[in-house]
């Protein structure tokens, strides 16, 4: 390992005189506390190092030692159920107040059962055996990408440290030891055999997403929204309820209390799919807003590397990043410190390509080992002043296929989730019609279109009503407004804190969508029969309709049929009045 001696320190950047060869982007340890850093510039016999931790107290003359490799993390079974800092060092067991120089994860023991024997040919991405983690879940012990050959020997079933060599593989380049975990450079995407098209949505349990703006398994979604519009609550709700095998939750430059909240809540909640504690499928990575900014830039790569690692076992992984804006700002800050020419909004010119690189790592793939796995990325964006024309939002918009724009007006009226139905979109939506059809909603695409048209007309009509008054609108338009209101209140509104409604199964969504859709039909029918809009608005069944989400549990879906029957009879009872009414 090469050594260098620090000659100049300023903030998180230092210059050191190299006493051996260093490479660009090599990871280094600085000073007696072995702070993590990265070589960002080579300059004759000097190196420039970006330190990822607080540099208070460092002085000229301290030693800088190279790792001989770019910044890498150890991926393995010990990730699940735990919380790490932005450089993937465990936070549990660390002191109450975080000084620089956190320790890397100590080895953890897991039961292992071999699935290969000496002489077997092993390709990269194949599994040498099963690892048993919390809850009896079995994970694959992967042969790392780039390693291929015959098994020389393999350890018998038993408990081992996660970094302990379990098998030796003879490769073209020599013998390689394979353990349950391995190191991977975070800025390099993990390879796969090929990308697969996605015909399945990632079920989120949120009606406005699944039914109007679905995201594909292996897809990418952005959630832009001003402060307090509900990005974090939405991402947390998705982390709790979405149909993924593993959740990677990245708190990037956000609040410490939010992380503490997740840590407190997740172990007590059940994974909707397995009934096991939610925490067991979750990896949390936290660089809160008061932690060092340089590590924030790296944290997003750590998170996606962890996600890809679980994908390579053939799992569906969802990565929530809150907030990608803080990552972009960290990038800006680091770039500014090196005197790079600032572009739009002060961000470096390569911002767009960095965003693209990140979202490109989301995919549904055939893994090197021949399994099918996916990484779905959902990133929050915090646009300055809530203005979506700023660089991070506008670039991200080019690279994602689902766009969930949060609306301050809706949030102010406490209408959640505050996803704006007209500014949001999902490019893959029509591909999911067959999927919904199999789940009892053959009319999904038509209803979706109907609802979106209604909401679009509503916004136009409201603008008009602002000029001429609501009562002056023709009856048909008043009915349109009424129907749009109902779609909003009865179908789209879904509080993350309503015990019966925080998650809605596809069956509940389909049933609710049908009831709301039926209301629209009946209202339009009544209008055609000459019924005044005010009488439709006065129907007593409107109130239970508006509350059907929060009042109907998953085991009470039959209630929705009753509601629908009430609706039919209420409309049937409406008699046209004599002319003039």
């Amino acid at each position: 390992m090469s050594r260098a001696i620090a000659v100049k320190l300023a903030g998180p950047v230092l210059r050191a005189r190299a006493e051996g060869p260093f490479q660009l982007r090599e990871s280094v340890r600085v000073g007696p506390a072995r702070l993590l850093g990265e070589v960002v510039r080579l300059d004759r016999d000097e190196i420039v190092v970006q330190v990822y931790e607080d540099t208070t107290g460092l002085r000229p003359g301290i030693e800088v030692v190279g790792d001989g490799a770019p910044l890498a993390i150890r991926v393995g079974p010990a990730l699940l159920g735990r919380i790490f800092d932005g450089l993937l060092r465990p936070l549990s067991g660390a002191p109450d107040r975080l000084a620089a120089g956190l320790r890397e994860a100590p080895a953890t023991r897991f039961p292992f059962a071999p699935a290969a024997a000496p002489g077997d040919a092993m390709a990269a991405g194949a599994s040498i055996g099963d690892i048993v983690v919390a809850g009896g879940r079995r994970l694959a012990a992967l042969v790392p990408p780039g390693v291929e050959g015959r098994v020389l020997d393999i350890r018998p079933e038993g408990e081992y440290d996660d970094d302990e060599p379990l098998a030796r593989i003879a490769t073209a380049g020599g013998e390689v030891a394979v353990a349950m975990s391995h190191a991977w450079p975070v800025r390099v995407p993990r390879p796969s055999r090929r990308r697969l098209a996605s015909v399945t949505p990632l079920v989120t349990g949120q009606r406005i997403l699944d039914s109007l703006f679905p995201v594909a398994l292996g897809g990418k979604a952005a959630i832009p929204g001003g402060f307090g519009t509900g990005k974090t609550v939405l991402l947390e709700t998705l982390a709790k309820g979405c149909a993924a095998d593993v959740i990677v939750y990245l708190g990037c430059g956000e609040r410490g209390n939010e992380m503490a909240g997740v840590l407190e809540e997740f172990p007590r909640l059940d994974d909707p799919r397995t009934g096991r504690p939610l925490m067991e499928r979750t990896v949390i990575i936290a660089n809160t807003s008061n932690m060092p900014v340089a590590a924030r830039e790296a944290s997003i790569y750590c998170a996606i590397t962890v996600a890809e690692y679980f994908r390579d076992m053939g799992l569906d992984v969802a990565l929530m990043a809150d907030s990608t804006s803080r990552w972009a700002e960290a990038l800006r800050e680091v770039s500014g410190r090196f005197g790079e020419l600032p572009g739009e909004g002060g961000y470096p010119a390569y911002l767009a390509s960095r965003i693209a690189d990140f979202y490109e790592r989301a995919a549904r793939v055939e893994t090197l080992g021949g399994r099918t796995g996916s990484v779905t990325v959902m990133g929050a964006i915090s646009p300055p002043s809530g203005d979506f024309s700023e660089p991070v939002t506008s670039h991200t918009k080019r690279f994602v296929r689902s766009y969930w724009a949060l609306d301050a007006k809706r949030a102010q009226a406490r209408f959640y989730p505050a996803v704006h139905p007209l500014q949001s979109y999902a490019e893959d939506a029509s591909a999911f019609a067959p999927w919904w059809s199999e789940r009892g909603n053959p009319n999904w695409l038509a209803l979706r279109r109907r609802f979106l048209t209604l909401l679009d007309e509503q916004s136009r009509l409201e603008r008009m009503a602002r000029i001429i008054g609501k009562d002056a609108l023709p009856a048909r338009q008043q009915v349109t407004l009424l129907c749009a209101d109902l779609v909003n209140e009865a179908f789209l509104r879904q509080s993350a804190f309503a015990p019966k409604d925080r998650l809605a199964s596809p069956a509940k969504q389909a049933a609710m969508m049908a009831v709301a859709g039926r209301f629209v039909e009946l209202a339009e029918g009544a209008l055609a029969r000459g019924i005044a809009p005010a009488r439709i608005a006065g129907l007593a069944c409107l109130r239970p309709l508006a509350r059907m989400g929060e009042d109907t549990g998953e085991d009470e879906l039959a209630r929705l049929d009753e509601l629908r029957a009430d609706l039919e009879s209420a409309f049937a009872d409406l008699e046209p009045e004599e002319a003039g009414a």
Binding site: F227, N290, P384
Partner: protein, 463 residues
């Protein structure tokens, strides 16, 4: 404390706040220094950069009048720290923790670095439990929770000083009567008369004895202004996590802090970002606001209710904007309410307390409190929309239902938001239910049938 080293005749350059030294003892990054000119004035500073030959000192107070010759630099051998003891309550300090009330020096039990290290999220206890402020717009609609950071977004000339003093004087933990409650009040960039207003009103209200008051005046240097919230929060952390008290921190006015940061940043020649503020304004503010919360195993808690004035009442200005992205909600004051004589002029719609759900309902306040708040919000939002409509088509153009919302909006502001003295929570709650009684029951879809029956007292379907 480590031994202090001295450097004389080492100054070779001075550029704005930066002092360059050569041939000095070795010092670590961030170490504190005292720079004394021939005038005898002591200025605080810290090591900003170090190489083998040269040290760069960032002087944290005005460098005007400082020559190279005769300037002496004393090294603390550690980052800036504050010597603290239980005796800080009832005392008045300047912006960098020196007692200015003529009393004896505070007996120090502990020295804590003013840049407090970040809390490990694992060690945080999620904030719970309700703090009653006596202000209905806060208690009922945007409840403050112990350990929360909830700022007040105000505007120049609005009565935020009065609000701050009232909250400081009335704030209580209804479920923990008798537990130690303390206030740390930091005036940042205050005019002399506001400083005097705070001191005398806290004294009159009897709150001064449970308060540590920090006063950084407008006439003090901008660099010192950057230290004031850090000294105050270090004191607050000491009271909360060493002395075990429930501490409410009021920092006012954070806009002055941000202006000082902009000034210092530009004097260092840094590349400005939005509106001339440095690109790291977000991270810098986070190091202040994140110093709030509860710790596992600690008896005390630290709650922040800071005040900032929005330049030109613009909530999209970088100061309120970035603050809102860090804090756990905001209480927004509005000029038009103030003009209409509504005190406190809380603009309820853009206000938000994100932790409300963790400190209200159930055992904390009343089980139906969250539903009531949500319904009041939905109705008031509709009233605000109707108001816009009425301003165009006139009240005559409104439907009967819309007119009821118009009246509701008026009552909401004049009877619920507006108040003379502090209101007990139960009174605020009753007032909220009563206001809803004037709306068509069928519209109250955020309330369950039971809530409607029990509180609003109207048979469903009444219009």
């Amino acid at each position: 404390m480590k031994p202090r080293l001295l450097a004389e005749n080492a100054a070779v350059g001075l550029e704005g706040p930066l002092l360059f030294l050569e041939g000095t003892p070795e010092a670590g990054l961030g170490d504190a220094v005292e720079v004394t000119g021939p005038d005898g004035r002591i200025r605080l500073g810290r090591v900003a950069a170090a190489d083998r030959e040269r040290l760069t000192i960032e002087v944290l107070e005005s460098t005007a009048g400082l020559p190279l010759e005769g300037t002496v630099v004393r090294f603390h051998g550690e980052p800036l720290a504050f010597a603290l003891g239980p005796g800080i309550l009832g005392r008045v300090f300047d912006g960098v923790g020196r007692a200015i009330d003529g009393g004896p020096p505070v007996a120090a039990h502990q020295r804590l670095p003013i840049d407090g290290l970040p809390f490990n999220p694992v060690s945080r206890e999620p904030p719970r439990d309700f703090i009653e402020t006596g202000i209905t717009a806060i208690d009922l609609l945007n409840s403050l929770v112990r350990g929360q950071k909830l700022p007040v977004f105000s505007g120049g000339g609005l009565p935020h000083d009065r609000l701050a003093v009232e909250i400081a004087s009335h704030a209580r933990l209804p479920r923990r009567a008798g537990e130690d409650f303390a206030i740390v009040f930091a005036g940042i960039g205050l005019a002399h008369d506001s400083a005097e207003y705070f001191r005398s009103s806290l004294e009159r209200g009897g709150a001064l004895e449970r308060t540590a008051l920090f006063l950084n005046l407008a006439s003090d240097s901008s660099t010192q202004r950057l230290l004031t919230p850090r000294f105050a929060l270090t004191a607050a952390e000491y009271l909360a996590f060493v002395e075990g008290k429930h501490v409410l921190v009021i920092l006012t006015d954070m806009t002055n802090y941000c202006e000082a940061l902009r000034e210092v940043s530009s004097s260092k020649g840094e590349i400005p970002s939005r509106k001339g503020f440095p690109g790291y304004l977000y991270s810098d503010l986070a190091t202040i606001f994140e110093r709030a919360g509860c710790l596992k195993g600690a008896r005390g808690t630290l709650t922040q209710l800071s005040i900032l004035t929005m330049p030109s009442d613009d909530i999209t200005h970088p100061i309120p904007d970035l603050t809102g992205y860090i804090t756990e909600g905001q209480v927004v004051l509005a000029r038009d309410l103030d003009r209409r004589g509504v005190y406190p002029p809380v603009n309820v719609l853009p206000s938000l307390s994100r932790l409300m759900k963790d400190g209200t309902g159930g055992d904390y306040t009343h089980p139906d409190h969250p539903a009531l708040a949500s319904q009041l919000y939905a109705a008031y939002a509709r009233a605000a929309q109707t108001r816009v409509l009425a301003s165009v088509v006139g009240e005559e153009g409104l439907s009967e239902a819309d007119r009821r919302y118009l009246a509701f909006g008026e009552a909401f502001e004049q009877r619920l938001v507006r108040q003379e003295g502090p209101r007990a929570f139960a009174e605020s709650l009753a007032l909220g239910w009563r206001l809803l009684g004037d709306l068509p029951a069928a519209d109250l879809t955020r309330l369950s049938d039971r809530q409607l029956r029990e509180h609003v007292n109207a048979p469903a379907g009444r219009t």
